[in-house]
Symmetry: C2
Subunit: 347 residues, 2 copies
């Protein structure tokens, strides 16, 4: 059973959460996406849209690396930052040994903490990045994550050339990357601020269907949302939106049901980035978008915009990850989930 | 050019380094290794040695997961900890999508930050773990990493059944895992303390030989050691040992030469975990041991013992990682390196 203790005045920690003493500012961010994402409902909001998904590179992996490189470049440019002014990069992607990150960001020569949280990595990077800033270890850090439809299909399923069919519960990996500049000082063009985090643990309900990752991840999202509400002493209505990363339409149903079992109705204010980024009617993406890039680019392009324009005051942002590899899948293992919650407020 | 500014009194940061205000205590640790490592020069020092490298499991990946599970269990047991007393796990391994970690530590239900820094992950986990403690976000965290010879050969090179030959510059992936309990309060059986960190950036000298990873990683180790000496205003002799993770005998020569070019002679006090763990004369391991587990088990079994017994007062511990995947290798990419430095002192 989860602890019922709320974070007290002057205390920084609840059971799974940290409340920051000072807001950690999201001073700039940038997003870059592929052609299909550019044609979706959020298309006009992204900073850059590729003409094709190779982005001028020779391989899908190089293309994904170039996404991270460009996202960091754009975000630094918006804030007028030079790389020597950035103390740490917190970065990751979905590929084996995180090669999109390694070959994407090495030219910046910024001290790097490489992360792996599957599609939850955007939340993980914002959590560790904001801890580094709030803890006094850095003035400025950048958090960056990416995914690419073609490199992910090759990594987890089959090469595109096989033309494999996908069930309706499957999601479509977003081609995209977003980078976030976090700072101790409020920047001139500040977008929003991180005021707390709720760190997820691995939750495994025993599901083995990698073509239904929404349901594999929903229990982990439920754990983080539930514990966030307990730790901060809040109700769902205290958030304008509770936003998961890439559960998709089927995972969303599972999450709402699981939260109802715990006594919380989040059906009114739940939003899923995977359900925002494509038009299911015309884009044939089935359950929705997924991947590290899905939550990241939606946060940069859409969610932060709502907070900036004060349409929303406070959101709980929870990128969700499915923990599998082709080896674990082929060896018959389950697909456990993890999620990382970040409280983001308008400033 | 690197900054020449030393960390000043009352300041926490140098260019790439953090000096902690209070020591972060390594209150307990545990190591578990395979048969070959048990037969090596450090064999008697490990907490557990497996009878065979499957450790009672059905696959190499499951075996590696069981190593992480057991290392955490042993470390918590030494400190009398229950899992609910541990605020965070910082964990990673070498396998695609870090499945050794996911399936190894999920039963503990501890909030998890998954990391990927190739064989530098032990240093990365101790860096982020000690930041979380020093920053006031946690009382107790556990850092755990692992590698397994057979799962790594399958992941990066060829299945063991192929019987591939290995050049003399190749290293032998250590089968092993070690876990470290870091605490804000000094424990009854405290082993040593972390007093600072120097975080590495990716360094790429353009080498492409994945069978000579020592030379691929030496430039990254050189960068971290050099910057650590600058940031802390120290000379090599201020450390009883400067200890890299898994450069092996050929990488060691490269590192000593690179440091000499920067004006530092570390030949007297450099040590490499990969050169300690096997007997090259009788164990046919070529350049030395490697893998996340190599630095981790050597730290737990040997290095912390020397600090505990006050034979050494202060060491700079620098696990080193080669950033490649079978995809990046097959696509002709280079093998860049990264390293993470941790200053550990006797208490």
């Amino acid at each position: 059973m989860a602890s019922r203790e709320t974070i007290q005045e002057g205390k920084r920690r609840g059971k799974q959460s940290v409340a920051y003493e000072n807001p950690v500012y999201i001073n700039a961010s940038a997003s870059i996406v592929g052609k299909k994402e550019g044609e979706g409902p959020l298309g006009a909001l992204f900073d850059m849209v590729g003409e094709d998904d190779l982005f001028g590179c020779n391989t899908w992996e190089e293309a994904e690396s170039s996404l991270q490189k460009d996202a960091v470049y754009l975000a630094m440019g918006k804030e007028g930052l030079e790389n020597k002014e950035v103390q740490y990069l917190f970065a990751g992607d979905l590929l084996g040994q995180s090669i999109a990150t390694s070959f994407g960001i090495m030219t910046y020569e910024i001290p790097l903490f490489g992360l792996y949280g599957a599609c939850s990595t955007c939340g993980e990077s914002l959590s560790l990045g904001s801890m580094a800033v709030d803890g006094g270890f850095a003035q400025t850090v950048i958090c960056v994550t990416s995914s690419h439809f073609a490199s992910a299909e090759k990594e987890f399923r089959n090469p595109l050339e096989y033309g494999s069919q996908r069930p309706l519960s499957a999601s479509w990996t977003v081609t995209g990357s977003a980078a976030f500049v976090l700072g101790k000082e409020r920047g001139a063009h500040v977008r929003a601020a991180i005021t707390g985090i709720t760190t997820g643990k691995i939750v495994d309900y025993g599901l083995k269907d990698s073509m239904n990752m929404g349901c594999c991840m929903a229990p982990a999202a439920c754990n983080v949302i539930y514990q966030n509400l307990i730790d901060f002493g809040r109700q769902p209505a205290d958030y304008d939106k509770i936003i998961t990363g890439d559960l998709g339409s089927i995972g969303q149903r599972a999450l709402i049901d699981l939260m109802a079992e715990k006594g919380y109705d989040i059906s009114d204010n739940h939003m899923d980035c995977g359900m925002q980024i494509y038009d299911p009617g015309s884009q044939d993406t089935h359950a929705g978008g997924s991947g590290c890039g899905c939550a990241a680019v939606t946060l940069s392009a859409y969610i932060l915009k709502q907070l900036e324009e004060k349409k929303w005051k406070r959101v709980l942002f929870i990128p969700t990850g499915a923990l599998l590899s082709k080896t674990s899948f082929n060896e018959g293992k389950t697909v456990p989930g993890i999620a990382h919650g970040v409280v983001i407020e308008s400033v």
